[in-house]
């Protein structure tokens, strides 16, 4: 039941924010924060009991709940979490709260409706991280698109209509391919066993011919890689990120992209172990191309927000690489990168948002010398720029190091090329700091310093990214059993009984 509540609370909170907005727009913000904190409290209240269960290998799922939904089709409301889901849920709630707080003064129009969309996206994302029924998964997968579309379309910047349309169509097209694959799997499994079901744990055991498995896997793969996004499926990302309001960018970069990575981990690897091995070299090539290409294009931008957007392509390349490198180290690194990138890039987008709110431009030609007028803001920006380039001590370093280490065992060449991405990352990160915060002052623009709200928000993010870099152990321990299970089911293709604690 706790899982259903986790999804329901933001839904209800969003609705309340919208309905009560007429009287007082601050109320909408407080309701949203309260709903998310309540959600986080619910999660935390549950955490200690799970951490002891995490060590038990036979517990595939920490919580596993199923209700009937559309029995005629074999669809059930099957929600479950393991360590991986738990970690991503925590990330979702953390970045969700940050997203509400960072839009506190930025969004002034239609505040209630804004927060409803924001919270509904979070509900959709939480649903994606918990759904263990393919129909339900697809349902949530599509559900998070619509409010995101509104977020970009209504509160975005100048070119928002184009950007939101592009975002929607790219992801929707990928989603439809996945739908075909889900249905293909459903009918093949049904014909073989006589049981027509969308249930993940039952479908895990379905035997497919290699060719069929490959085509079905490809549908999933494309849908997830579009979301990730990897080259050449990335063109929606720079536009969507750049035009979205700050909260939208934070959620896009921090969470929405991660659903693609999660899909690869949860569905592509375990459901199609053979086909995943077949496509792994290609996926790794795509990953390396994304790393280099994203970094190079980032270097060519003059729009600060677009620059950060392209770095996402580059960083998410490491996630793709880690997932398909095939070693446990690389896999853990990929998960680490999911979390670290979510926090660091989210923070960079917030910084860009704060600059834009203050000087009304994102053009780096018109920035410079901010350090003297806003040392705190600039200091925080330096921290996250360093995190982004992979400096030891930050989460991103741990993640990228683990991915490269794990990949080295599979392919030395790929590792070498991917590692050169780190050099490029250093160039563009330091370039941002150099051009925007140091250097000459341009014009009479004086950047206002962080307010206390902003200071606390950024401090929280700095603490998290440092914690990830210095003491990553708890994160790795949390996901290790889940990743082991994913690897087991993908190497031995064994059926895992839907056991676990019934809640």
């Amino acid at each position: 039941m706790i899982l259903a509540w986790l999804i329901m609370i933001p839904l209800i909170g969003g609705l309340a924010a919208w309905l009560l907005d007429q009287k007082n727009s601050a109320l909408a913000r407080w309701i949203s924060v309260a709903a998310l904190i309540l959600d986080a409290a619910l999660l935390i209240s549950y955490w200690p009991t799970t951490s002891s269960q995490l060590t038990l290998i036979d517990h595939r799922w920490l919580i596993d709940t199923t209700w009937e939904w559309i029995p005629q089709l074999g669809v059930s409301l099957h929600l479950a979490v393991d360590g991986l889901s738990l970690l991503l849920i925590a990330l979702t709630l953390f970045l969700g709260i940050i997203a509400v707080v960072c839009s506190w003064t930025e969004i002034r129009e239609r505040v209630g409706f804004f927060h409803m969309n924001l919270l509904w996206i979070l509900s959709g994302i939480l649903g994606v991280f918990m759904a263990l029924d393919l129909f339900l998964f697809y349902f949530f997968w599509e559900l998070m698109l619509v409010p995101m579309y509104f977020l970009i379309n209504i509160w975005g910047h100048d070119n928002r209509v184009y950007a939101s349309l592009k975002f929607f169509i790219f992801t929707q097209a990928g989603g439809l391919l996945m739908l075909l694959s889900i249905l293909g799997l459903y009918f093949i499994h049904g014909r073989d066993t006589g049981v027509y079901t969308f249930d993940y744990s039952l479908l895990l055991g379905s035997s497919l011919s290699p060719a069929t498995a490959f085509w079905i896997m490809l549908g999933f793969f494309i849908a997830f890689v579009v979301k990730l996004p990897a080259f050449p499926f990335h063109p929606w990302l720079p536009d969507a990120h750049t035009e979205a309001p700050t909260a939208g960018s934070v959620i896009l970069a921090g969470l929405l992209l991660k659903t693609g990575a999660y899909g690869l981990l949860r569905f592509v690897l375990p459901l199609f172990p053979g086909a995943a091995v077949t496509i792994a070299p290609w996926a790794m090539i795509l990953a390396v191309v994304s790393i280099i290409y994203g970094a190079l294009l980032a270097f060519a931008q003059t729009d600060l927000k677009r620059l950060v957007a392209y770095t996402s392509v580059s960083h998410m390349g490491f996630v793709l690489l880690g997932i398909f490198a095939g070693t446990m180290t690389a896999l853990s690194g990929a998960v680490m990168q999911i979390v670290a990138h979510g926090v660091s890039t989210g923070a960079l987008f917030i910084i860009v948002g704060m600059i834009q709110q203050r000087i009304h431009t994102r053009d780096m030609e018109r920035m410079g010398g901010f350090w003297s007028s806003a040392p705190r803001l600039s200091g925080v920006a330096l921290v996250f720029a360093l995190a982004s380039l992979g400096l030891p001590g930050f989460g991103n370093f741990v993640a990228e190091f683990m991915v490269l280490l794990g990949t080295y065992q599979t392919s030395v060449l790929v590792t070498i090329v991917a590692a050169s991405g780190l050099v490029l990352a250093a160039i563009y990160s330091l370039w941002i700091v150099q051009r925007v915060f140091h250097g000459e002052k341009k014009g009479a623009v004086k950047l206002a310093e962080l307010s206390s709200r902003e200071t606390w928000m950024m401090a929280a993010m700095v603490v998290v990214i440092l914690w990830l870099g210095i003491f990553p152990r708890p994160v790795l321990d949390t996901v290790a059993p889940a990743l082991n299970a994913i690897r087991n089911s993908s190497t031995h293709a064994i059926t895992i009984a839907p056991g676990g604690a019934q809640q």
């Binding site: 009937e68 939904w69 559309i70 029995p71 005629q72 089709l73 239609r110 129909f135 697809y138 349902f139 949530f140 599509e142 559900l143 698109l145 619509v146 579309y149 509104f150 379309n153 209504i154 209509v161 939101s164 349309l165 929607f168 169509i169 929707q172 097209a173 439809l176 391919l177 739908l179 075909l180 249905l183 293909g184 459903y186 009918f187």
Partner: protein
């Protein structure tokens, strides 16, 4: 005809009686409000009679009609939709000058025609149903006589529907000449024995398809659709888009499942081409439109293309998918045209995109309804359209119909462009000068609220309706 036969025909008889009552009432006491009430009560009674009749199905009443679960399901759908149209058109017509009582009479007669179609098993009843429907629709399309476009729509529909009827008649004659029967069951048996091979039989069947294609507005028989949709009053457009097409599709499904379309290669090829062409033509042409009613016209062409996939697919999933998709399509289309109706003013219908600019900030609830309906047309979760599209794709995948399914997927993406374009306008900043808007109408708001509730209910918890559909389709297979 026994007493039981008459009871079995109760739904048809009630609608017929209601139309006679409306006619008498107009003769003695011409009042729009009371006539509207008579038609609403008549439709509600007809709807209420369905469960009673359902206990004695299936029952053939003469060789013309069969009252089975399948027919009753579609009648239920038709009566509900007609009820909504009647309620919507009351406040719509009140805003226009002239006498409006007759409109409800026509609506009842047209509904009767569609109900006959849903139950017909014979060429004679098939043709009667089509004609009863069409004759009423000519008048309904041109009902607002002061509107040039309305007259144009009526005349256009008159000519094309008359031509299509001629096609159907000629086709029937050829089939009868070849097989010697006009009963669907007999035709089915004889076709099963020989196949659709002889030229006269094939030609006859194709001519029938042409005629029905006009009614369904599928490519290449769709040319009348945008003009009639645009010109006809919004509630009438809703009626044409839902009740008329739905009933004809129910008949198509019954007729072609009797002659076992899956064994007839030429027919499969024809329907595949029609389906794929409808999807592409409908969606691509919709991209070029600026008028909301025309966009919806082209959108409905593509939706009928999706629906035809269920005709091509075989088995239980396919027939369930057809019924569910039609239900979702009915709710959604009525909802969209309901919003157009409610927003339409005295002089003209709210069919320009400008009429919707910033609607979300002027009338948030109405904009919410419109958004939900458009997202349903696009097949986004939480709405009936999502489950409907899911079902159609499932039916296609189940029967390995890869070409139509891939076309469907591509077209879903194309469709997003123009549905989102309307949504963009709805959520844009409101214009500086706001034209005077019609007052809120209670009946309209109630209908829209109901439709939205059903839309979400079907999208979130479709189990019960799927059960009903599964029960009813057994009489078809």
């Amino acid at each position: 005809m026994s007493r039981l036969d008459l009871i079995a025909l109760a739904p048809l008889i009630i609608v017929a009686t209601a139309s006679v009552a409306a006619m008498l009432m107009i003769a003695f006491f011409r009042n729009h409000k009371y006539t509207a009430i008579v038609s609403l009560v008549g439709l509600a009674l007809a709807l209420a009679s369905l469960p009673v009749v359902a206990t004695m199905t299936p029952r053939s009443v003469t060789s013309l009609l069969i009252v089975d679960q399948y027919a009753l399901f579609y009648m239920g759908l038709i009566f509900c939709a007609a009820f909504v149209v009647a309620a919507l058109s009351y406040s719509y017509l009140e805003r226009h000058d002239g006498y409006h009582a007759e409109f409800h009479l026509l609506l009842l007669v047209a509904t009767l025609g569609t109900a006959v179609l849903a139950a017909s098993t014979h060429f004679a009843s098939f043709f009667l149903g089509i004609e009863i429907l069409s004759v009423s629709l000519y008048t309904m399309a041109a009902y607002l006589r002061h509107s040039d476009r309305g007259i144009e729509a009526g005349v256009k529909y008159l000519i094309l529907a008359a031509v299509s009827s001629a096609f159907i008649l000629f086709g029937m004659a050829l089939v009868y000449a070849e097989l010697g029967s006009m009963e669907f069951a007999q035709i089915g048996l004889r076709v099963a024995a020989t196949g659709v091979h002889g030229l006269p039989l094939l030609a006859g069947t194709v001519l029938i398809i042409v005629g029905l294609g006009f009614k369904l507005a599928v490519v290449p028989f769709h040319l009348w659709t945008p003009d009639v949709y645009e010109g006809a009053p919004a509630p009438v457009t809703a009626f044409i888009a839902t009740v008329s097409k739905g009933a004809v599709f129910a008949l198509v499904l019954r007729y072609f499942s009797r002659i076992d379309i899956h064994a007839q290669q030429p027919l499969l090829v024809i329907f595949t081409i029609i389906a794929v062409a409808s999807m592409f033509a409908g969606n691509l042409l919709a991209l070029l439109q600026k008028n909301v009613k025309r966009i919806l016209a082209y959108s409905s062409i593509s939706h009928l293309g999706y629906l035809l996939v269920t005709l091509l697919a075989s088995g239980h999933t396919a027939v369930t998918a057809a019924a569910f998709y039609l239900t979702a399509y009915f709710v959604t289309t009525l909802g969209v045209f309901g919003v157009v109706t409610v927003l339409s003013g005295r002089d003209r219908d709210a069919d320009s995109l400008d009429d919707y600019q910033g609607l979300a900030w002027r009338r948030p609830w109405l904009a919410g309804v419109l958004t939900a309906m458009l997202l349903s047309l696009a097949g986004i979760p939480l709405t009936a359209g999502f489950i409907g599209k899911f079902y159609v794709v499932a039916a296609g995948v189940d029967s390995s119909l890869w070409i139509p399914i891939i076309a469907l997927v591509i077209n879903s993406v194309i469709g997003l462009f123009y549905y989102l374009r309307i949504i963009v306008v709805v959520y844009a900043r409101p214009p500086e000068v706001i034209a005077q808007e019609p007052v809120h109408s209670l009946s309209g708001s109630a209908m829209l609220a109901g439709l939205t509730a059903v839309l979400v209910w079907l999208g979130v918890y479709p189990g019960p309706i799927i059960d009903i559909i599964k029960k009813t389709i057994q009489s078809l297979i």
